[in-house]
Symmetry: C2
Subunit: 320 residues, 2 copies
């Protein structure tokens, strides 16, 4: 198959390429088209079949360079992050909405001229949901984002559904849980502490916990999140209807349960590196995040979560 990945140089894109490069990968890739604003590192085994496009999804030339190969499947991971979409309103809409709308319109043009009809897998987010929340969100809970990022994700989901229903694409939107443990450095994003309090102590460094241990949230490891896309590429979607946005399965854990998992994997000394220092601003933001999901439709389609938070900590440790 010919597979295109938009946003291929990002965290999920890189993990996805790693999984696709495993000899045990179930997919036979004859052509891989990567696309990101920076060059995409590609595993050696995939290099021979890779065509690299360097450019953003907002750039029509980059999009045309990808689409000229008529990929059978397009995985759309390209996005600016939540914090940036909030501080730069215009850039958020330009990159996170306008670009996808233009991309889908270009595909629609190819569909009407030559019947092109790719699978289109879009990386959405649980940021499409907003409070007040029930204890557990089912698949019928309403879209009420409280960020511009979440608004843009919800609007893209609606487009993916409608362009699918109208027969222009075979679309699917995967609402990813918060990714944890994120590799790399601690940053200033409100969600960053969820990863920091695991990653930093595992590396022998101190981490700040800015919220109460009772806070509950919804997680997937980077490996599991990338695995959702691998699963979606070959999934038989003929049995599901026009509701093509699926909340992915995850692990619901309190911060206290995260810390207990860290202790189980790395001992009390690691936990001792976490310093609690409540930040009311961060606490105000993250208490607006969803605690738990049934993910019933996704589970029925064979998507699977990490077993528990201990596994999430172990996965991070085994990779870094």
């Amino acid at each position: 198959m010919k597979l295109a990945i938009l946003g291929s140089a990002g965290m999920i894109g890189q993990e996805l390429l790693d999984q696709l490069s495993q000899t045990s990968a179930p997919l036979s890739i004859e052509k891989l088209i990567t696309c990101d604003r920076a060059p995409t590192p590609v595993p050696a085994v995939l290099k021979a079949c890779t065509i690299e496009v360097v450019g953003t999804v907002s750039d029509p030339d980059a999009i045309n360079a990808v689409l000229q190969h008529r990929p059978d499947c397009i995985i759309h991971l390209a996005s600016i992050v939540s914090g940036e979409a909030e501080t730069d309103f215009e850039k958020g809409y330009t990159v996170n909405f306008d670009a996808t709308y233009a991309l889908l319109e270009t595909i629609r043009g190819l569909n009407s001229r030559e019947g092109y009809h790719p699978r289109f897998i879009f990386a959405s987010s649980i940021a499409v949901f907003g409070p007040p929340f029930p204890a557990i969100l089912d698949d019928d809970f309403h879209l009420a984002p409280r960020t511009s990022y979440g608004t843009q994700k919800a609007m893209q989901e609606l487009l993916v559904n409608d362009y699918t229903r109208r027969g222009f694409i075979d679309g699917l939107s995967l609402r990813l849980p918060t990714i944890c443990v994120r590799p790399g450095k601690a940053n200033l994003a409100a969600s960053s502490f969820f990863s920091n309090i695991i990653r930093e102590p595992l590396a022998g460094k101190e981490a700040i916990l800015p919220v109460d241990e009772s806070l509950r949230h919804w997680f997937a490891s980077p490996q599991t999140a990338a695995g959702f896309f691998v699963h979606a590429i070959g999934l038989d979607l003929s049995q599901i209807d026009h509701r093509r946005a699926l909340s992915m399965p995850g692990v619901s854990a309190t911060v206290g349960e995260q810390i207990a998992a860290l202790e189980q994997v790395a001992g009390a000394r690691a936990v001792g590196l976490i310093r609690k220092q409540i930040d009311p601003v961060i606490e105000g933001i993250v208490t607006g995040w969803a605690p738990n999901f049934t993910a019933a439709r996704a589970l029925a389609l064979g998507f699977t979560a990490d077993r528990d938070f201990v596994v999430i900590v172990q996965q991070h440790l085994s990779r870094n």
Copy 2:
């Protein structure tokens, strides 16, 4: 106040102007800006303060001609109907989505330059919802439209929410029930029979009923629907949060209950003019429409429905 109405020549726009022209109207209108693709009939009492713009919402000149007056409140009713948005995909997105996005962007520009911050009341629709439905939809039921029209309405709602949260407008989206009894002629829209089976017999004419009497749906009279907008103009929204899309209250009635109301108002002879002739295509479409709503948030804000379907029939009779 300065009030602008986009789509002022349509059914709701005309009813709204009629209500605003009543001497009992609670609003003091110093300037009224009408805008439609055709000239807008305006009640005599409002003529002196009216500025008429003839043009579509997709036309930047028309929008600028409206916004140059810096209306305190913009009521956005302009839209192509569901059937047309389905048959003409491009026109649907151009009129029902792109135009609103461009309008909001123009307002955002004025907001950043001079702090302009109008109330913005958007006519949404219960078409944002799709099956499978529970027996009664609460305010947390998800957006899963099964038409392009419903998709466009849902995307506009999301923009209204986000532009409100970011401080560019003071927005509110009113999800209207199916309007019944629609004045005018019978037409070929799938929903048209809901009105035909009341309006035509009241005028001594035969009407076709293409569905089973057990079908349940959600209704508001044109008068009540226009009243929602009058109520929204002056509503104190300081107590409601960023979730600015409200399902309006209505009357949940089966087709059988509609017919019983017709009989109560106009007798058995009127009912005798209804001829049942099942149309599987129409039945297939309308069974995908929502049966009943709590409308709890709207009711708490003082929006009120017609009392029952008998009142809806009587209202039609008293006006036509």
